[in-house]
Symmetry: C2
Subunit: 371 residues, 2 copies
């Protein structure tokens, strides 16, 4: 199949008016041949959300989940790859969810699911965010083994409070090829520095659920600003981080290490109201989801809207492709290459207008969303 | 006179083994001629402290001050230029102090005093630090006029809480050629952005006496990290900013816009004990000076010790020369050029060893300190 007369935006180049030939993979890309009237559409790599809990009424922790519906919801936002993100819950329950995701990936060729991000249950009681304190466990190696053994290929990221972990537990996660992300954590700058030395380089929803930066204990926020090679998850909803903080992060940190996520919860795409999040009651109104004490409980951010905000703050479309697809693909580690508009890469892409309205979404060469 | 066989460190070059010919000005500089046995001494431009309240038992606010003694104290730390910094006090008193400093500058050729830094009385009641709340005034243009009229050539910097100021007051200060520095302030990022647009580019003791950075209101700390052209005063005592915060600032901000200051109070160079600071009682112990509630009340940092700390954190000697002399000279605006080891510049320089121990200090060609 061929798309013609579109602006092709790869993280590392732009073709003002180009064409792309594809099957399930991208076959070739070139400059517009002039025989077709150019559209004003933008073609970008499909978005990759490495931290999202649900949407369209479903949470990945639900026993009963309509995968077709939640996947259609992701496609509608241009998201073609997802790490299904779990919540702090009994370990057996987390394992059941992981198993279910693994099955879905195996059974459905066009699922956007590419793996699991375990968020908790090894987190700090001080930075719970909207995680259920009842199911928090300590970071003993045995707990880690129970969580991941048998699912090393499905679990791609594990968010932990490093200060609650045995060193051997952190090393065990890494030895299984799973990325350790530090989050929901009271770790000091020194704590982070230690694990950074042996390769930990990811911070979960940077600035959220960690101590703010103080000039006498700069903590994880300081670590994220200090170490250029650390991947920073950011929620660009303007609420989890205000626009000035977003600007500061984009100014201070290399764009190659920024990962746009939604941390979306089940109400994303639905109306305001009261929803459940891992057994906690969450009120959704005014573009935010909060516990009764006001604590933010994930977001209801639509992925493409977050990208529009980042574009308005000054990121070029190439940089948008980087933070939304190329960088998170390095995190999600799909079995086939994603995140660029080059021959050999999966034909996962979006067609959108300049306002970030999604027009068509293609997953492995198949049109999965169209308006 | 000639110094020979020393390592010459200018902000922009190093001569491993060199010589310098000088009278009151530097006359010429060159590579060591080989006829003298090289010493292991380092020759650098004299240090310039643009924010210091006193030392050796004296505070610039004292009615009775022995200038020879306090100046000898500055020379002993390698400081050859000083902006005498006032405290929040009745306006008439501040004017008397300014007048006294002006006279000293006029009457003593070798004084390190080159001007005045007015810290307060237009500050935020919320970020008093160790300023006396009794004498805080609002930032009306008339108050500013009372403070500076007639002393435009002596006052070089004025620290104000911009959110307490009329725009016309800020513009008035700038129109008199005086630098506005934002400090002791509750200003938001937006507040700062507004005045930055018309040229305000200085933050008083960065991070101290301002709101810490929060990811939903990044404030003045965020402004300092965001705007590369803003001069940041830093107190490198390891207490006002811990070593990690110092590292973060040095990493995130251009070295051309870092100004090392001491904010030193009268007890600098003296023993622990109880001292007065603008009518407030200050306890000096464990390398810090604090009010009874623990609030830091200036420092007792010796300038060269601060530089040693910055060197240990990774600044090269050239960068040390930049933050200690070249950059603050741009702030202090002495009537003759300082801050470089080049012909035509004032012969203000230090000879020190690699441990930052000061051996000799020369002011306008005269040896003013020697051990």
């Amino acid at each position: 199949m061929i798309v013609n007369g579109v602006r092709i935006v790869d993280p590392f180049f732009t073709i003002k008016s180009g064409w792309m030939d594809f099957s399930d993979k991208i076959l070739s890309v070139g400059t517009f041949d002039g025989n077709t009237v150019p559209s004003d559409l933008i073609l970008m790599p499909g978005f990759v959300d490495t931290h999202v809990h649900g949407g369209a009424g479903y949470d990945f922790m639900d026993e009963d989940i309509d995968f077709d519906k939640i996947e259609a919801h992701f496609f509608s936002m241009g998201v073609t790859s997802v790490l299904a993100t779990t919540l702090t819950a009994p370990i057996d329950k987390i394992k059941r969810v992981t198993k279910k995701i693994k099955q879905r990936i195996e059974e459905n060729e066009y699922t956007p699911l590419v793996g699991v991000h375990l968020e908790g249950p090894i987190i700090s009681p001080k930075y719970l965010g909207a995680q259920n304190p009842k199911y928090v466990v300590i970071g003993a190696k045995e707990n880690v083994q129970r969580l991941i053994d048998g699912y090393e290929d499905t679990i791609k990221v594990m968010t932990v409070a490093i200060e609650q972990c045995e060193d051997s537990a952190i090393r065990y996660i890494m030895s299984r090829g799973i990325r350790v992300s530090v989050g929901h954590s009271d770790a000091s700058f020194e704590d982070f520095k230690e694990v950074h030395e042996f390769g930990v380089n990811h911070l979960t929803h940077f600035c959220n659920a960690m101590a703010p930066l103080h000039h006498r204990h700069i903590g994880l926020v300081g670590a994220g600003l200090f170490f250029d090679d650390v991947d920073l998850e950011i929620i660009p909803d303007g609420i989890h981080l205000d626009k000035d903080m977003l600007s500061l992060i984009l100014k201070a940190h290399p764009i190659e290490h920024i990962i746009a996520i939604t941390d979306g919860m089940r109400a994303t795409g639905l109306d305001d109201g009261i929803y459940d999040l891992g057994g906690l009651k969450v009120r959704v109104e005014n573009d935010s989801a909060r516990l009764s004490d006001g604590t933010l409980a994930g977001s209801i951010l639509e992925y493409n809207e977050g990208l529009k905000r980042l574009h308005n703050l000054g990121l070029s479309l190439n940089e948008i492709a980087m933070v939304s697809s190329f960088n998170p693909s390095n995190v999600a580690k799909p079995s086939t290459p994603k995140g660029r508009i080059l021959p050999g890469y999966d034909a996962d892409f979006v067609l959108m207008d300049e306002n970030f309205s999604i027009r068509k979404v293609i997953k492995k060469g198949k049109i999965v969303y169209s308006i």
